[in-house]
């Protein structure tokens, strides 16, 4: 039941995108997301779609798998589209009862839907092709300059990687406790909102206890291995840029140049 959540998951396979340096992917995703907000016409989104499709093709992640992860945000998407469709003032297109669809509303709604979908697909592609460990390594290395402002970069990265690592563990745990309580006749699916909220107690109490127990065990294990923070700590696999990473940056900049030139044309 809970295993269906694929947002933020890693998809294990062999591809160029998987092998790219996480810094390239992080930077690329960031620039790609920013680019989505620069376009003035739909042609820009076309360029972005081509770029995205190429990356998906190179990543060897089945498109079906990516779409499955989108299920979680369908609701959000629908709300955004509906509100924009009906509540934007402008030239009237169709009017039924009190609801009016305007030309501007249609345009904003479509832009929003495209933007959100491409944003989510793009960023989930990053997590699908990068292991959590790699991702946090990349973040740590990119945030290094912040150390000058006394930001505990290593600690932040460590917390993030532990949090990411715990997501599948806790999901599995939730699944197990849920099953165990269902076996004892618990019902999580019927009843009004109050009943359902109450039904969560037998799930949440054991889940919190288990999370605390695991955190405690992990802290102990880290201490037993003399973990004392990032000072003087070296990496087994330090991040070093390869030829393909430089090529990756080039591709991203080429996309940005083309995308923004085309996307900002006044048609």
């Amino acid at each position: 039941m809970l295993r269906d959540i694929t947002l933020g998951q890693y998809y294990q396979t062999e591809s160029v995108i998987h092998r790219l340096d996480p810094r390239v992917k992080l930077g690329g995703t960031l620039l790609y997301i920013i680019s989505l907000f620069f376009f003035r016409n739909f042609l820009g989104y076309g360029v972005a779609a081509v770029f995205l499709a190429t990356v998906i093709g190179l990543s060897h992640v089945p498109f079906r798998f990516i779409v499955k992860g989108m299920k979680a945000i369908v609701f959000l998407l629908l709300i955004t589209v509906t509100f924009n469709l009906f509540l934007t003032p402008g030239t009237e297109l169709v009017s039924v009862w009190k609801l009016t669809i305007t030309v501007e509303g249609l345009r904003t709604a479509a832009t929003m839907a495209i933007r959100l979908t491409m944003l989510i697909i793009g960023s989930s592609l990053m997590t699908l092709t990068t292991t959590p460990n790699n991702l946090t390594d990349g973040m740590e290395s990119m945030m290094k300059p912040l150390k000058a402002f006394r930001v505990p970069v290593h600690e932040v990265a460590m917390i993030m990687s532990i949090a990411l690592r715990f997501i599948p563990i806790l999901l599995e745990e939730t699944d197990k406790i849920m099953k165990a309580q269902i076996a004892r006749g618990a019902d999580f699916e019927t009843g009004n909102i109050v009943r359902r909220a109450k039904a969560l107690v037998p799930l949440l109490v054991p889940l919190f206890i288990s999370a605390f127990r695991r955190a405690n065990d992990l802290a102990m294990a880290m201490e037993a291995r003399c973990y004392r923070g990032g000072e003087g700590r070296t990496k087994m696999k330090p991040l070093i840029y390869q030829r393909r990473d430089r090529l990756g940056y080039l591709c991203i900049f080429a996309y940005l140049a083309i995308g923004i030139t085309v996307g900002r044309l006044r048609l």
Binding site: Q12, I177, K179, A183, R184, V205, I209
Partner: protein, 289 residues
Amino acid sequence: MSIILDHVSYIYGEDGPLAVKALDDVSLQIPDGQFVGIIGHTGSGKSTLVQHMNGLLKATSGHIYFNGEDIYDRDFPMKKLRSRVGLVFQYPEHQLFEIDVFSDVCFGPKNLGMDKKEAELKAFDALRKVGMPMELYYQSPFELSGGQKRRAAIAGVLAMAPEVLILDEPTAGLDPKGREEILQQIKELQAQTGMTILLVSHSMEDVAEYVDRIVVMNKGKVMYDGAPKEVFAHYKELEEVGLAAPQVTYILHALKDRGFDVDVNATTTAEAVDTVLHALGRAPEAFRP
């Protein structure tokens, strides 16, 4: 009254990159009142198998019949099945949540729609059956020892008065004494109530002493199915798949190889003692100092 599995297969993560065939064409029949041990190595599919028996997992293909009714029929009462086939998960103490042991045990029967009095009666009965000391009934379940927590959790399932009780590794993580106590309690429970019990374990030792029948699972398939004596006769093959026969089997085979007339089919320690004494009785003078 029985559970029948008819060519049941189950695949985890069917369309993901890591699809695993956890059950592969399993057919089993579990008659009423039998005490069955399900043995297998980690990942052999034994836990997956038992989760099918109360409908928590739905088979990818195949059918399961409970008392002659197909549990995948649209109008089959799944909730009722779960009260009749009680499943105690691995580390069941991880599901405790109430403020005291007694309320926690009442959770199951209350979910079945029993009124307060009836639920409490069932809870008392269940706690007595698992041998929980009276003075712990109103303590927080989180303050109990490991073995006591486990008892409380088992009582939580027993209180629903199931006809079939499935225990998934009930002795995992307990010390030898706690293990012995829990298994003994289960044996007594079976003798008293005559209920069908399925005991899932990876340890032959645990199971050999208690059960009527052993089902050995390997890579999602049933490898052996029969009385302990029959299954342990294959002790060499069992070893190849990472399972060991009880220690007495090895000792008796070693003795037999050295020319002692012992019965290698003895599976429990008591039987082994008998047959060794018997063999020694024939030639006792050879061993006298």
